[in-house]
């Protein structure tokens, strides 16, 4: 295990979680929303893992998963937090990593999440302004392509 992962494992134990190794140089850590900010501050400021590649959203049935993908030289460190679909609010990390602003906006549009603390919280990035409020966000499993096409008034593609 590399040095970063050993240090991370020590810190993760204090946060009550463990570091899972997915592959030789890729690891996944699951943290709860309460510990997320402290964990990421430690990762970015103390361990100098500053490059956030992107933020990936997942539809996990009952919950939504938010994965922060960091990279440092040969290591890829994924930090995942789970948010229930009934209350899709998450904390924004723009004060720790300012470059996360557009990734969070994309998740807001595509999964219906709400990032508290994001300065452009109410602005749509990818979806059109006339997106109907009762249509589910596109990347959830219950949302279907022909339903979106019908509601937005677009013609059906080749049958």
């Amino acid at each position: 295990m590399s040095e970063i992962i050993t240090q991370l494992a020590k810190y993760a134990e204090e946060a009550g979680t463990t570091v899972n190794s997915l592959r030789k140089e890729e690891s996944l850590v699951e943290v709860s929303q309460d510990h997320l900010k402290a964990f990421l501050t430690h990762l970015v400021n103390d361990l100098q893992v500053t490059h956030l590649m992107t933020i990936t959203g997942l539809d996990l049935g009952q919950n939504l998963g938010i994965t922060y993908n960091f990279s440092k030289e040969r290591e890829i460190i994924n930090v995942r937090t789970i948010v229930p679909k009934t209350n899709p609010k998450a904390l924004s990390i723009v004060d720790i990593v300012p470059g996360a602003i557009l990734y969070e906006m994309e998740l807001q549009d595509m999964f219906g999440l709400e990032f508290i603390g994001n300065p452009w919280k109410n602005q749509k990035l990818l979806l059109p302004d006339e997106w109907p409020a009762d249509l589910p966000p596109p990347l959830l499993k219950i949302s279907k392509a022909d339903q979106i096409r019908r509601r937005l008034g677009l013609e059906a593609a080749k049958p």
Binding site: T56, N69, R74, D95, P98, A145
Partner: protein, 433 residues
């Protein structure tokens, strides 16, 4: 669009990318002269830009959603068509993300062929970009010459892959076509030709007064800001950060082929020009080396159409920066989730920081300097904060304005257009449209 209260904004954004309280006029990104639509709102004070707010997503095709209902191999052809100029790297990164979920290894010869095609694509992309910089600076001759040399590399790619742009060479666990016989000498000779041309263009951009005036000291951003905003590719390397996926996390054959990562601390658009031309020369050397030392062996391994369950992240170095792919499988014929992040999205916050403090005439140069893959700015509406006046310009008018701003006495031929633009600007500043 409502603005959050002052205190919350300042805390949240840590001093970067702050909101202004001006109200802005929305406008449409559709324009007859467009390459790809996008939308920038500018807040100006006189000639200086104070704030830029982007809106993207006009060519959002829903590829991530469409990928969930197609088999694994068919997704590769779909993701290859995300972009024309970096299409091979998209299929390469997708293949790498999926191959790690299987237990099969990619043969060594396939890795070398992937490296050769990826570096040829980088040469093509950088030549295209240098030509575009010449076009937006008013130096159309450079544009024509560079795009003439681009045909050399496109002919080589066509001889190997059958098509100039969407190469379709990649497949899961290998490449589909082998290198043709007797191509080695031709490739090495053409790479030498391109190296000589790149050295000549480098000399031109260092001495020609037009390019120096348009690109020196324009588009500066500090290394600290670029690191905080997670810039990738040449946008990180031009301020001195050594971020290159080929060096930090080698994939394909990059641990065996000699790699030359170029960084500079000059920090302006002129440095970007030099950086990309140097990268072109380094790529040509890599192609020559790889072609001469191609190992023998099979080029692909046949794998079953069902990929085992798991998730994997993979990243590659596209000509524009770092490409990211995430693949999650639940053991079926179709994926559960594929996420792809293009380098231009990672570079937009840095580009917005580059624009602050620049003049109106520098907008085409700065926005092209980040090598955007979603096109160039075309229809812009301007809002002058002091006089509360609004007006609109097309892309060609903006480009001509930039040329005339820097070299008013040179454009004798288009004197009437320059005069018309100047009088139009003055009139707008006085009365508005």
């Amino acid at each position: 669009m409502s603005t959050p209260p002052e205190k919350e904004r300042k805390e949240a954004s840590a001093g970067l990318m702050e909101y202004s309280t001006e109200s802005l006029v929305p406008f449409g990104p559709i324009h007859p002269a467009l390459k790809e639509p996008e939308y920038f709102k500018l807040v100006l004070e006189g000639e200086r830009i104070v704030q830029v707010i982007p809106r993207i997503g006009y060519v959002h095709r829903g590829l991530e959603k469409a990928a969930e209902s197609r088999p694994w191999i068919q997704n590769m052809y779909m993701f290859e068509r995300t972009c024309g100029i970096c299409s091979f790297v998209h299929s390469l990164c997708y293949s790498q993300a999926v191959e790690e979920l299987t237990l099969y290894q990619v043969p060594r010869r396939a890795k070398y062929i992937r490296t050769i095609i990826a570096e040829m694509e980088r040469i093509h992309s950088h030549l295209l970009w240098v030509g575009l910089m010449g076009h937006w600076a008013g130096f159309d001759t450079l544009f024509m010459w560079v795009w003439n040399d681009r045909e050399v590399v496109l002919d080589l790619v066509e001889a190997i892959a059958g098509n100039r742009v969407h190469k379709s060479m990649n497949t899961l666990c290998g490449v589909r076509r082998d290198m043709p016989e007797n191509m080695e000498e031709r490739i090495v000779e053409r790479m030498k030709f391109l190296t000589d041309r790149a050295r000549y263009y480098r000399e031109i951009i260092d001495t020609e007064e037009t390019m120096l005036a348009r690109t020196e000291n324009i588009g500066r951003v500090s290394a600290d800001t670029a690191e905080k905003l997670c810039a990738v590719g040449p946008m990180a390397r031009y301020v001195g950060l050594k971020y290159d996926v080929r060096l930090n996390d080698p994939y394909a054959a990059y641990d065996e082929v000699p790699l030359d990562v170029i960084t500079t601390t000059q920090g302006d658009v002129h440095a970007l020009l030099r950086l990309r031309l140097d990268e072109l020369i380094a790529s040509a050397n890599m192609v020559s080396y790889a072609v001469k030392n191609l190992p023998d062996g099979p080029i692909r391994v046949k794998i079953p159409p069902i990929i085992p369950a798991g998730e994997h992240v993979s990243h590659c170095e596209a000509p524009r920066g770092e490409i990211f792919y995430y693949a999650k499988s639940t053991g079926g014929r179709t994926p559960d989730r594929i996420k792809s992040r293009q380098p231009t999205m990672a570079n937009i916050p840095t580009a917005l920081e580059m624009l602050k403090g620049q003049t109106l005439a520098d907008i085409p140069i700065v926005l092209t300097a980040i090598d955007p893959c979603f096109g160039c700015m075309d229809r812009m509406s301007f809002y002058d904060t002091e006089t509360n006046k609004k007006w609109t310009w097309s892309g060609e008018e903006l480009r001509q304005y930039g040329i005339n701003y820097y070299f008013p006495e040179r454009s004798k031929k288009k004197q009437h257009l320059a005069e018309a633009l100047r009088s139009q600007t003055n009139r707008c500043l006085k009365e508005g449209f």
